[in-house]
């Protein structure tokens, strides 16, 4: 090596190939945003699958959504918003070198993440008990289900006239006579009769919430890493980049859930 | 320039001397009404491509020779860019590709709009054969069509995606499970042509070949009538073999002893078989009849009860013909 070391006497947080802390911070930040872009498109594929299936088979979604507990869904939304707030505050704490506060805020965010996964576990468990699983494992019996969804039969929103308009898509029966399924008939009886392929709703439900759950777990991992860095004293000098990056990621996890809650739980 | 002279000009460019069937160095014979317009566009694009390719290569070779590096001689100076020139060589290809797009789209519209009076044939694709179902219910493994009459194919697949491709007609359409896809053509020359599966579908994809037989005027109806009566005109053994092939039996049952989804039928007649329920029986006419109409009644040990019933799909004479065919499978060769 020549006589051109840059590491010595430099800020240990500045990697040797960067000229300034700002360049390093902006690089990390741009990198994170590009990564988030890939995350959006990654989840996006599932949203495409969701949209295509819902537009073609709206009755499956109207039916399936009755089996999701919107109270628990709303609770999880609140939990995630809270965690988004705490991690945003954590960034502020890191920027202002409030190390002890930072620790508590990261812990609070993690607590929310665990709470989220706990609620999720309760939900998954009840689906499991009733056989409301993805298509290959779906073993639901309509008779038992009636106890599960007391609101379904009485829900004022389920009116025969309103339903076909709901998704702004003509019901599948508009093809040539005899070719398409008589979807119009299922609209009247949505609360009682299980539409064909109702199980696909649960396939989609498990795929989307499952992938989201994996992201929550990854977020928990990232926060454990933050705590490790904090213990090492990485943030003492006001180097908040790592906290900022994890926070950005976490907010996207929150954003995805905002849409999942709407699109899976609140269908009518 | 009239389109005929243009066509001739393009034919010459394409290295094709119009030798009657419209085939050329590049293209197979033209046997459908759309083939002519497809080939016209093909040759037009070919002419454009040859022009630009020759231009690029000639310029390139000329530059390499003319400006080859010589000792002690540097590159001459010339401008680094020239907006007018660059816009020109963006603009000319733009105009050309717009033309090609329009021709291609027009041709496509013709190819996707069957005339109203088309003769309709249903097509059933499965790994790895084609069944063509004629309006009178007769099923054949080859496609027979009348000449000079539009034919519309309504196609479905039983398993994976296949694609019906008749090069001589320039027709290709995927056959997708769960939906009907459609294609049409009007054959212009009697003869026999290849029909391929063009979408990869597994082991015998490349053997999923059928023939298109274009019948001369007036002969198609005769053929159909005769073919539909094959039970009367053919020996029962031959009729049985034909049914075995076109009605899908061979998908699951081999006649050479190899095990597929179902047991092989080689030498089946007179053999004793054990069944899943523990009973056993010597195979006779009655058992064959039962296993065609009620396949689940007695399933041969070691096989899954997956065979569909043929109740209502095979007539008594047809079952008799099949039985005769199975009797002939005694291992003594055909």
């Amino acid at each position: 090596m020549g006589a051109h070391h840059h590491g010595d006497g430099h800020d240990p947080n500045l990697a040797h190939h960067f000229e300034s802390a700002d360049q390093q911070y902006q690089s990390a930040k741009l990198g994170m945003w590009v990564f988030l872009m890939t995350e959006i498109l990654f989840f996006g594929g599932l949203f495409v699958a969701y949209t295509v299936y819902r537009v073609n088979h709206p009755e499956v979604f109207v039916y399936g959504a009755h089996f999701l507990d919107r109270g628990l869904g709303a609770l999880n939304t609140v939990v995630l918003i809270l965690s988004s707030f705490t991690i945003a505050w954590a960034v502020r704490a890191a920027q202002l070198k409030q190390i002890s506060l930072l620790r508590w805020l990261i812990l609070a965010t993690m607590a929310c993440a665990f709470a989220f996964m706990g609620v999720k576990a309760v939900e998954y468990n009840s689906k499991w008990k009733h056989g409301l699983l993805w298509a290959a494992k779906y073993s639901h019996h309509v008779e038992e289900a009636d106890h599960d969804r007391p609101t379904a039969a009485t829900d004022p929103a389920v009116s025969p006239d309103a339903d076909p308009n709901r998704s702004a898509i003509p019901p599948a029966a508009e093809g040539p006579a005899g070719l398409a399924k008589p979807a119009g008939e299922t609209d009247d009886t949505v609360a009682e009769v299980e539409p064909e392929n109702a199980k696909v709703f649960f396939s989609i439900y498990f795929l989307m919430t499952g992938l989201h759950g994996i992201h929550v777990l990854a977020g928990i991992g990232a926060m454990i890493w933050l705590l490790k860095c904090l213990a090492r004293g990485d943030f003492d000098g006001g180097h908040f980049t790592k906290v900022d990056m994890v926070a950005l990621y976490w907010h996207v996890v929150d954003l995805v859930w905002i849409y999942l809650f709407l699109l899976l739980y609140l269908i009518d | 320039m009239t389109s005929t002279t243009l066509v001739t000009l393009l034919d010459v460019l394409a290295g094709s001397l119009p030798d009657g069937d419209g085939s050329s160095f590049w293209l197979p014979p033209q046997v459908s009404t759309v083939a002519r317009s497809v080939d016209w566009l093909f040759n037009f694009i070919l002419a454009v491509s040859v022009f630009f390719f020759v231009l690029i290569v000639v310029v390139m070779v000329f530059f390499v020779i003319r400006y080859r590096r010589r000792e002690g001689q540097k590159a001459e100076s010339s401008p680094n860019h020239n907006l007018a020139l660059e816009l020109t060589w963006s603009g000319i290809p733009l105009v050309l590709v717009i033309m090609i797009f329009i021709f291609g789209f027009k041709g496509f519209l013709d190819m996707s709009t069957p005339p109203a009076n088309s003769y309709e044939i249903l097509v059933e694709a499965q790994k790895w054969n084609w069944s063509f179902i004629y309006p009178n219910g007769y099923i054949d493994s080859n496609l027979h069509v009348p000449v000079d009459r539009p034919v519309r194919l309504v196609m479905g697949s039983q398993d994976v995606i296949h694609s019906l491709y008749i090069p001589a007609f320039r027709v290709k359409m995927d056959v997708v499970p769960g939906r009907y896809s459609k294609a049409w053509f009007e054959a212009t020359e009697p003869g026999e042509y290849d029909l391929f599966c063009a979408e990869y579908c597994g082991t015998s994809h490349s053997d999923m070949i059928a023939h298109v037989v274009v019948h001369p005027v007036g002969e198609f109806e005769t053929w159909l009538e005769q073919a539909s009566n094959f039970l009367e005109t053919m020996a029962p053994v031959d009729a049985g073999r034909k049914l075995f092939q076109v009605r899908g039996c061979q998908q699951c049952h081999s006649v050479d002893g190899s095990v597929k989804t179902g047991p092989s039928l080689l030498g089946v007649f007179g053999q004793t078989r054990n069944f899943a329920d523990g009973s056993s029986l010597t195979i006779d006419e009655n058992y064959i009849r039962e296993s065609i109409l009620e396949p689940q009644a007695r399933v041969v040990d070691g096989f899954d009860p997956v065979m569909p019933t043929y109740q209502g799909r095979l007539s008594d004479p047809e079952i008799l013909a099949l039985i005769e065919y199975f009797k002939s499978l005694d291992g003594s060769g055909e």
């Binding site: 090596m1 020549g2 006589a3 990697a15 360049q23 690089s27 990390a28 590009v34 995350e39 498109l41 990654f42 996006g44 594929g45 599932l46 699958a49 295509v52 290959a136 392929n197 199980k199 696909v200 396939s203 989609i204 | 293209l27 497809v38 694009i45 070919l46 491509s49 390719f53 690029i56 400006y67 080859r68 590096r69 540097k74 590159a75 010339s78 680094n80 860019h81 020239n82 020139l85 660059e86 060589w89 963006s90 733009l94 717009i98 090609i100 021709f103 291609g104 041709g107 496509f108 994976v160 995606i161 694609s163 491709y165 320039r170 027709v171 290709k172 359409m173 939906r179 990869y200 490349s206």
Partner: protein, 565 residues
């Protein structure tokens, strides 16, 4: 001497075989866990070369089987696995990472006068993901391989009994490897350009890598989710693509091509970048129409997302969708044509050296012209109906992917080889092998155009008799091609040990990677550099004493002595 002020680590000519990145740490681990972009680039080079060898063997087996109708050397099932593996290995393991991850990784920071990419750890992660993904693919090959074709179309891929899951897992992981490379390049190009290098003073190779990276980060995640859905379909029976469950098997094709069409441009854009560098240097001329070439890269990258449906013209896709995709497909032709004309114009009044890299440039122009022009037949709706899924398509994409990307990759490899390893290869053998590859390639694939337009469907184990002679010609061509590569492997390998030491700048290029020793030192540069016009070749002169090129005014590109950052 002017040279040694710049190349303190090396000898007068700028050769630094003794003190380069190649021996700045020893032992396998110093390579496997290096953060040095040069070493990662070299490891990628070794890895993709091995993949290319594997894919090439599959290709030769496929061609050999097609020597005659019926069985020649293998069964239909084996053949179906061979062409699937040939496609999957060549595309996912070789050609997508090919230029960006191997050549790009090595060259990009050097062209920026930087010490490394912005995110070196992510760079190493990318390489390791490649290794893990490749291992999954190998496992799949060992436990029975796949027979779906590299396109994994449903419902065939969800019903076949072969090892689909392990290979799709592999491709899924390889996707992340590709995303990480792209992400890294975007950040590096945005944030680490040196003083003086505005966007429009970047070498065009960087424009190629940048537009490639845009596609990598935007399209590859969709591949990831597509494969995940495919795995879920097989394991969980999810139903999105299953018509029996109300799903849509053709939707898979939309998913797949939303990635895989842009992926075609992941392959070709960096190749175009390489050609832009080479054609200027070996013509001794400033590149012609810099801005048009740069913008056309970005245009191609963005347009590449709007054309995927042209793979589905016969799938039953609606007429209106077909029309839109056909029209948009032709729009990609324009920027591609512009580039070709600009490269030709660069040669005008030049001083053209027919060194091995330049032979590849000429080869590229010839083959890419054919590949591009035959795309017109496939973009037009009515002709595509006839040609879709025939050998015409096979020939077309080999002319683009091999005649374009691989030829450019070889050109780039021969161009940067002295920089990477500090040795010159045998020029004579380089030319022989370039010629053999050119001839073999055309014999292999031009025949396939003729077969295809006559109606020979692709992925056929057996074929009708009339195609026998063309198939045989094609097979012979593939052997010639393979022989050309064998020669190349020998002389390149030989050069590593016996090659003449390379000077810092053997070709007379003006981009910054030639301002350091060959091979570069671990920290790349001794000084902080000031970027000028990357195609100002007049700033250099040949120094016969070292058989290399030096700057007339070496101080003109030094921003600060000794790095001084």
């Amino acid at each position: 001497m002017t040279a040694d002020t710049l190349t303190a680590g090396g000898d007068a000519a700028g050769n630094a075989l003794e003190s380069s990145y190649l021996n700045s740490g020893s032992g396998v681990l110093s390579w496997l866990f290096t953060l040095d972009h040069k070493r990662i680039g070299v490891m990628y080079l070794v890895a993709i070369t091995a993949s290319f060898l594997l894919g090439g063997i599959f290709a030769l087996l496929v061609r050999t089987e097609l020597w005659s109708t019926g069985q020649t050397i293998m069964t239909a099932d084996a053949y179906n696995k061979m062409f699937t593996l040939h496609g999957a290995v060549m595309i996912f393991l070789f050609i997508i990472p090919g230029i960006p991850a191997a050549l790009g990784n090595f060259v990009l920071p050097l062209m920026l006068g930087a010490k490394d990419v912005a995110l070196p750890r992510m760079n190493l992660t990318s390489f390791w993901f490649w290794i893990i993904g490749a291992s999954f693919a190998l496992v799949s090959i060992v436990i029975g391989a796949v027979d779906t074709g590299w396109t994994f179309y449903t419902p065939y891929s969800t019903t076949t009994g072969t090892a689909v899951i392990s290979i799709t897992m592999g491709v899924f992981i390889l996707g992340f490897s590709s995303i990480f490379t792209g992400l890294n390049f975007i950040v590096t190009i945005h944030k680490m350009r040196p003083e003086g290098m505005t966007w429009f003073k970047m070498p065009l190779f960087l424009w190629g890598l940048y537009s490639t990276a845009i596609i990598q980060v935007l399209a590859t995640p969709v591949l990831g989710i597509t494969l995940l859905l495919l795995i879920a379909e097989r394991v969980l029976g999810v139903g999105i693509f299953d018509p029996a469950l109300g799903g849509d098997p053709v939707l898979f094709q939309h998913f797949f091509w939303f990635y895989s069409h842009p992926a075609v441009y992941i392959m070709i854009l960096p190749a175009m970048g390489v050609i832009s560098e080479l054609v200027s240097v070996f013509s001794g001329k400033h590149i012609f129409g810099y801005r048009f070439i740069a913008w056309s890269s970005i245009a191609i990258a963005l347009l590449s997302f709007l054309v995927w449906g042209h793979h589905m013209f016969t799938s039953g896709q609606s007429g209106i969708t077909n029309m839109i995709f056909s029209a948009l497909t032709f729009s990609v032709a324009i920027p591609s044509a512009v580039k070709v004309f600009n490269w030709l114009a660069t040669m005008y009044k030049g001083s053209i050296r027919l060194a091995t890299p330049m032979l590849y440039v000429l080869s590229f122009l010839f083959l890419f012209a054919i590949g591009g022009l035959t795309g017109l037949f496939l973009g037009a709706l009515s002709t595509d109906i006839h040609l879709h899924d025939t050998y015409f398509v096979v020939a077309h994409f080999h002319y683009v992917m091999f005649g374009g990307t691989v030829i450019a990759f070889l050109g780039g490899l021969h161009y940067w080889w002295p920089k990477m390893f500090g040795r010159m290869y045998s020029e004579r053998w380089g030319q022989v092998s370039a010629l053999l590859i050119f001839v073999g390639f055309n014999l292999t694939f031009f025949t396939q155009f003729v077969m295809g337009s006559h109606g020979m469907p692709r992925r056929y184990y057996n074929y009708v008799e009339e195609f026998t002679s063309l198939h045989r010609a094609s097979t012979v061509g593939s052997y010639v091609l393979g022989f050309g590569f064998l020669i190349m492997a020998i002389y390149l390998f030989h050069s590593l040990f016996r090659g003449k030491p390379a000077p810092a700048n053997p070709w007379g290029s003006a981009t910054l990677e030639w301002e350091t020793t060959s091979p570069p030192q671990a920290h790349n540069f001794d000084h902080e550099l000031l970027a000028g016009d990357p195609y100002d070749l007049d700033a250099l002169e040949l120094d016969p004493a070292i058989d290399g090129w030096v700057r007339r005014d070496p101080r003109s590109i030094i921003l600060a002595e000794g790095g001084g950052r």
